[in-house]
C-alpha cells in the first residue's frame, strides 16, 4: 500500500500514532515501577504498641528498632537501578541511530521517528523520580520517637492538653514548642520561662517539647517561600490546599475551614495515613500533641495567627480515608498588643490594596488601549481587503502619506499594530499574574 508522506494529514497521523505509542510506553513503565514497589504507597509492617513496658524492655526494643532502621536504610539501594533508566538510554540510542539513517537516506519518516524517540528518551531521564522513599521506611523511623515521647508523658502522668506556643515565645524564627501541662485547664507559661529553653517547667508545671511536625511546618514555609509569621489565616486557607495536593503531594484533598476560634482541617487520602493511625493509638500523642501532619498544621496556625493553639479532636472517617482535625485558637494575646497588631495589619492591608488597585488599573489601561488599537488595525485591514482588494503586505507596510493615520510623521499600519501589541503584552501579563496570585 502506498502512503503519501508529503500529505500533511498523513504526517499528522503518523506523528500522533508515534507519540501516543511513546506516551503509553512511558506511563506503562511508571505504573509498573509503582506496582513493583507497593510499599511506597502502602505502609506495611506496623509495629505493635504495648500498653506498658519496663525500662529495660524499652531499651532493648529501641536497640532492635535501631538495627531495623539501619537495615531499612540500605533498602533503597536495591531499587537504584530501575528499568526506566535502561529504557530511556535505549530510546535515546535508537533515536540517534534513526536520525543518522534519516540524514543518510533522506527519509522524513525516519527523521520523525528519530526525533520522537530522542525526545521521549531524554524526557524519561528528565522526569524520573529521584527523591521518593518508601512509606514504611518513613513510618518506622518516626513512630519510635513518637512512642518514646508518649511513654515519657505517660510516666510523668501529665494529663493536660498540649498547647502549641506562638512564635513570639522563641528566639529562633523557625522554632516551635508544644507545652504539655501536668493538669488540665492549665494556663500558658510566661514567655520568660519558655525563653530559658528548659524542658521541664515549674510554673505552671509541665513539659516543653519540640513538636513532631516542626520539620514539616518548616518545609511548608520553604516550599511556599513565605514566613508564616508574616501571613494571615486567609493565606493558609488559600495556599495550603495547593501545597498539600500539588506541590508536596501529601494528600489527595485538603480543606481548611474556620468557625470563630475553631479551625477545621479535612485531609483526604494522606500519605501519612498509616503513621497517623499508629500515632492515634498512643494515648498521650493521639488526641493531644497529634501526629506529625496534624502537628505541622497546628504549628502553621500558631505562626499565622500569633495565638496559641490546641488540637481539640482528631477524627477518622469510617473508610479511614479522611482525617478531620479541629484546632482551637487560645486567646493568648493581650488586648493592647492585639489592637496594635490589628492596626499594623490594617495599615499593611490598606497600603497593599492601594498598591494593587493602582497596579491593576495601570495594567488594565494598557491592555484596554492595546486592544482598541489592535481592533482598529483589524477593522482597517478588513476594510482595505474587502473594499479596495489590497494585499496584507500593502496594508501594513504601504505608505499612508496624506491620510489622517499618517499623523504627518509617516506612520504606517504596522507601527500601530506593533504599538497595540506592545501595550497588550506589557499590560496583560501583569494583570493576569496579580489575579493568579490573588487566587
Amino acid at each position: 500500500m502506498y502512503i503519501d508522506v508529503s500529505d500533511p494529514l498523513t504526517q499528522v497521523f503518523i506523528l500522533i500514532t508515534l507519540d501516543m505509542a511513546l506516551v503509553i510506553i512511558v506511563i506503562a513503565i511508571a505504573t509498573l515501577r509503582t506496582k513493583k514497589q507497593p510499599s511506597i504507597v502502602e505502609a506495611k509492617n506496623y509495629l505493635p504498641i504495648e500498653s506498658y513496658i519496663s525500662a529495660e524492655a524499652l531499651v532493648e526494643k529501641n536497640k532492635q528498632q535501631e538495627s531495623e532502621k539501619e537495615a531499612l536504610r540500605h533498602e533503597p539501594w536495591k531499587h537504584k537501578r530501575n528499568p526506566s533508566e535502561t529504557v530511556a538510554y535505549t530510546l535515546l540510542l535508537l533515536g540517534t541511530i534513526a536520525l543518522v539513517i534519516s540524514i543518510l537516506y533522506s527519509s522524513s519518516i525516519l527523521a520523525f521517528i528519530g526525533l520522537g524517540l530522542t525526545l521521549w528518551g531524554a524526557l524519561l531521564l528528565f522526569i524520573k523520580p529521584t527523591k521518593y522513599v518508601k512509606a514504611s521506611l518513613l513510618d518506622s523511623t518516626v513512630i519510635s520517637s513518637l512512642r518514646t515521647v508518649d511513654q515519657m508523658i505517660k510516666d510523668l502522668d501529665y494529663e493536660g492538653k498540649a498547647i502549641y506556643l506562638p512564635p513570639r515565645y522563641f528566639k529562633q524564627l523557625k522554632g516551635g514548642k508544644v507545652f504539655v501541662p501536668s493538669k488540665e485547664n492549665s494556663s500558658i507559661p510566661p514567655a520568660e520561662e519558655i525563653a530559658e529553653e528548659e524542658i521541664f517547667l515549674k510554673n505552671p508545671k509541665g513539659i516543653c517539647l519540640t513538636p513532631p511536625g516542626l520539620g514539616l511546618a518548616n518545609l511548608y514555609e520553604k516550599e511556599l517561600r513565605k514566613d508564616f509569621a508574616k501571613v494571615d489565616l486567609n493565606y493558609l486557607q488559600n495556599n495550603l490546599p495547593k501545597l498539600f495536593i500539588e506541590d508536596l503531594e501529601i494528600a489527595e484533598n485538603f480543606e481548611l475551614t474556620t468557625e470563630d476560634n475553631v479551625i477545621q482541617a479535612k485531609i483526604t487520602g494522606s500519605i501519612y495515613k498509616s503513621l497517623c493511625e499508629e500515632a492515634r493509638k498512643l494515648s498521650r500523642i493521639g488526641q493531644s500533641i497529634g501526629c506529625p501532619l496534624c502537628s505541622s498544621i497546628a504549628i502553621a496556625l500558631t505562626r499565622a495567627t500569633g495565638s496559641a493553639v490546641i488540637i481539640e479532636k482528631i477524627e477518622e472517617s469510617k473508610d479511614g480515608k479522611t482525617i478531620e482535625a479541629n484546632f482551637r485558637l487560645l486567646e493568648a494575646i493581650e488586648p493592647q498588643a492585639q489592637a496594635e497588631l490589628l492596626l499594623e495589619e490594617m495599615d499593611r492591608l490598606v497600603s497593599m490594596r492601594v498598591h494593587a488597585a493602582l497596579s491593576n488599573f495601570a495594567s488594565l489601561l494598557l491592555t484596554g488601549f492595546g486592544s482598541i488599537i489592535l481592533a482598529w488595525v483589524g477593522w482597517l485591514t478588513w476594510y482595505d481587503i474587502t473594499m479596495w482588494d489590497k494585499d496584507i503586505a500593502l496594508i501594513f507596510f504601504g505608505s499612508r502619506t496624506g491620510e489622517a493615520i499618517s499623523l504627518g510623521i509617516g506612520m504606517k499600519v504596522i507601527y500601530y499594530f506593533l504599538i497595540g501589541l506592545a501595550l497588550i503584552l506589557s499590560g496583560l501579563p501583569t494583570f493576569l499574574r496579580r489575579k493568579r496570585s490573588k487566587v
Binding site: 534519516s102 520523525f112 524526557l123 528528565f126
Partner: protein, 69 residues
C-alpha cells in the same frame, strides 16, 4: 546529504508533541487523584510548556513571513 525535515515539518512535530505532553501533564495532575505515578510531574509540565512555546515561536516566524513579503 541533508536533514530531511523542513522548518515547517519541525513546527508540525512540535505542535503534536506539545498537545500530547500538555494533555499528559494535565491527566497526571494530582487533582485527578493520580498521585501514585512516580514521575516528576512539575518537570513534565515544564517540558510541555517549553515545547508549546517553541511551537508558538515557529508560528510567530510563519506570521512574520506572511506579513513581510
Amino acid at each position: 546529504m541533508q536533514f530531511p525535515l523542513s522548518f515547517w515539518d519541525i513546527s508540525l512535530w512540535l505542535a503534536v508533541t506539545a498537545i500530547i505532553l500538555l494533555t499528559t501533564s494535565e491527566l497526571l495532575s494530582p487533582y485527578y487523584g493520580k498521585t501514585n505515578i512516580l514521575i516528576e510531574k512539575r518537570r513534565l509540565t515544564a517540558v510541555a510548556l517549553t515545547v508549546g512555546l517553541l511551537f508558538m515561536f515557529t508560528v510567530f516566524i510563519r506570521v512574520y513571513q506572511i506579513i513581510v513579503p
